[in-house]
């Protein structure tokens, strides 16, 4: 299925791009991050991340659907 990814902060720098559309067989954000971590030099462990699907926080075990917009969220540092 086709997943739309957007990258922020350290993940954007390590992916070398702000977004991409990816054809994947990953069924969950957990599997998707594992797949991406083989392609990019990501240093953050999945336990350090949160994930948003279609603009809302979601679970790493959530079932992905084609067309989903997925954002992995590194540890935040606002304020």
């Amino acid at each position: 299925m086709l997943i739309n990814l957007q990258y922020f902060a350290i993940l954007r720098e390590q992916a070398g791009r702000p977004n991409e559309s990816l054809e994947t067989r990953a069924a969950t954000p957990a599997a998707l991050y594992a797949e991406l971590a083989k392609r990019y030099p990501f240093t953050l462990a999945p336990e350090q991340l949160k994930v948003a699907i279609n603009g809302e926080f979601a679970d790493f075990a959530h079932s992905l659907r084609t067309g989903d917009a997925v954002v992995f969220i590194p540890p935040v540092a606002g304020g």
């Binding site: 957007q6 922020f8 902060a9 350290i10 720098e13 240093t43 953050l44 462990a45 336990e47 350090q48 991340l49 949160k50 948003a52 603009g55 809302e56 926080f57 954002v71 969220i73 590194p74 540890p75 935040v76 540092a77 606002g78 304020g79």
Partner: protein, 161 residues
């Protein structure tokens, strides 16, 4: 009332004006300023980046929670994004209430929650030429055993920029 981002300096006068209320007796505001140092490293400047759509939603949720949890009149948070120099204001929170205790508590609640929950990231540029995403770097290095999703105030450097 609410949570907003700005690319330009935060207008605290307008923010405060939104909280004025003849029935309010107390007003507390917090400002986060860019410090010249962090964990022993001299900071030159920094950059904030946000996942806007979700950040505004989460920021608004925090304000709604604060209004439900504390008997306050009005609450607002303004957060800067982009490049900031030392001494510049990164975030402003204002709260007004009938009595002062609630304004202190709600203001503290809001800034703590914003720092821990809103998807905003900060990259610090150091005087020594290094730079680093706060909370994101050293902890990911081999041997680092702390996972601290919700613990702010803990910065780790290290990409050469």
């Amino acid at each position: 009332m609410g949570f907003r981002f700005t690319m330009t300096p935060i207008d605290t006068t307008a923010g405060r004006a939104a909280l004025l209320d003849g029935s309010a007796g107390g007003y507390v505001s917090f400002e986060g300023w860019v410090r010249d140092h962090n964990e022993g490293l001299a900071v030159k400047r920094l950059k904030y980046e946000a996942f806007d759509a979700l950040a505004v939603k989460e920021g608004e949720r925090i304000i709604v929670e604060a209004l439900a949890r504390f008997p306050v009149k009005h609450a607002l948070c303004l957060h800067r994004v982009g490049e900031l120099g030392i001494g510049e204001m990164a975030v402003w929170v204002g709260v007004s209430s009938t009595h002062r205790a609630e304004s202190f508590e709600a203001c503290r609640y809001i800034i703590d929650a914003v720092k821990h929950r809103v998807p905003i990231w900060k990259k610090e540029h150091y005087v020594n030429g290094d730079s680093g995403w706060v909370n994101c770097e050293r902890c990911a290095a081999p041997g680092a055993d702390t996972v601290h999703h919700d613990k702010a105030g803990h910065r780790h450097t290290l990409a050469r920029s």
